[in-house]
């Protein structure tokens, strides 16, 4: 088999993952796109390992490790996403702009996609980072 097949597929998957990371609003969808990118890399690693007939199987081993680390990363990432959701009742990544320059104040908070609000939370007085609240 021509090596180009897996390589091109991997490149396409990677680009799709880049698109997803940059274009999706929901944080979970962003994480899914990150998974796409990681899988593309895995495919590359495996393809090269087989092509080079590596005796140490470095490529496949690294692919296994990538899968493991990806799993860990998804776990932690989702923990953060859940924490954000608990604080803000939204997981839209463009709603998290506290570090913006105060002059630009692009405060178009789109919290609409998580339509039913968390009970007790409201629009005003979004808690700020550094107020001693949980992060």
């Amino acid at each position: 088999m021509r090596l180009l097949f897996p390589l091109v597929l991997s490149a396409l998957l990677f680009s799709l993952g880049v698109y997803g990371v940059l274009a999706r609003r929901n944080a979970v969808l962003v994480l899914m796109s990150v998974e796409l990118m990681l899988n593309a890399v895995n495919l590359d690693l495996v393809a090269f390992d087989v092509w080079l007939r590596d005796a140490l199987h470095a490529g496949q081993s690294l692919a296994l490790f990538v899968i493991t680390v990806a799993a860990a990363e998804v776990g932690l990432g989702l923990a953060i996403v859940l924490q954000v959701f608990r604080d803000r009742a939204t997981v839209a990544v463009d709603a998290l702009d506290e570090l913006a320059d105060p002059d630009t104040a692009d405060r178009h908070r789109r919290r609409s996609w998580s339509s039913p609000r968390v009970a007790g939370s409201d629009d005003v007085d979004l808690p700020r980072i550094g107020e001693g609240e949980r992060l």
Binding site: L4, L9, L13
Partner: protein
């Protein structure tokens, strides 16, 4: 086109197609499910490439655990179960351009570099799982152990992150 190539092409089309659907679906849950398809197709690709262990691990962990975790997160964050209109930011056109650029660059680079490369799949000795396993537990045992520590750390960190009464005790 050899048989391997045909199969790989089919699997590749499935993988790429469902990946497209992952990043463009209007429905979060559907996106997660298309991700399952993508990951599964990739596992098939691994099989074609005779990387059996990786394929199985992919299915077990990615499809079995990661996607489930993602679906759990989708539920916990009250994602709308039906189609939602605001899943894409205004960044879409720029992101598309950047993605196209990345794709074009990578593909051109790879094609230019590996035009003549050929993987002798047929001549790979069977039982690569055993060989890979041996490699992991011999040559790569230190990264293996480090990764397991990493997993532990991630576990602990996830728990700390998600439980409000742990980690801030003493500052309240």
């Amino acid at each position: 086109m050899t048989g391997y190539e045909v199969v790989f092409t089919l699997l590749g089309v499935v993988a790429a197609g469902s990946a497209v659907l992952v990043v463009t679906a209007r429905n979060v849950v559907r996106a997660a499910l298309w991700l399952v398809v993508t990951l599964g197709a990739l596992a098939g690709c691994y099989l074609v490439l005779t990387a059996e262990l990786v394929a199985v691990v992919q299915l077990l962990i990615y499809v079995g655990a990661v996607v489930v975790l993602l679906l759990f997160a989708v539920m916990f964050t009250r994602a709308p179960i039906g189609p939602a209109s605001d899943l894409d930011t205004g960044n879409r056109p720029v992101a598309a351009v950047v993605a196209l650029g990345t794709a074009g660059l990578l593909v051109a680079l790879l094609v230019d570099a590996f035009r003549q490369a050929y993987v002798e799949v047929a001549s790979v000795p069977p039982g690569s799982a055993a060989a890979v396993g041996a490699a992991v537990f011999r040559t790569w045992v230190l990264p293996f152990e480090v990764v397991s520590v990493l997993l532990l750390a991630a576990l602990v960190g996830a728990i700390v992150l998600s439980r409000p009464d742990i980690g801030t005790a003493g500052s309240r």
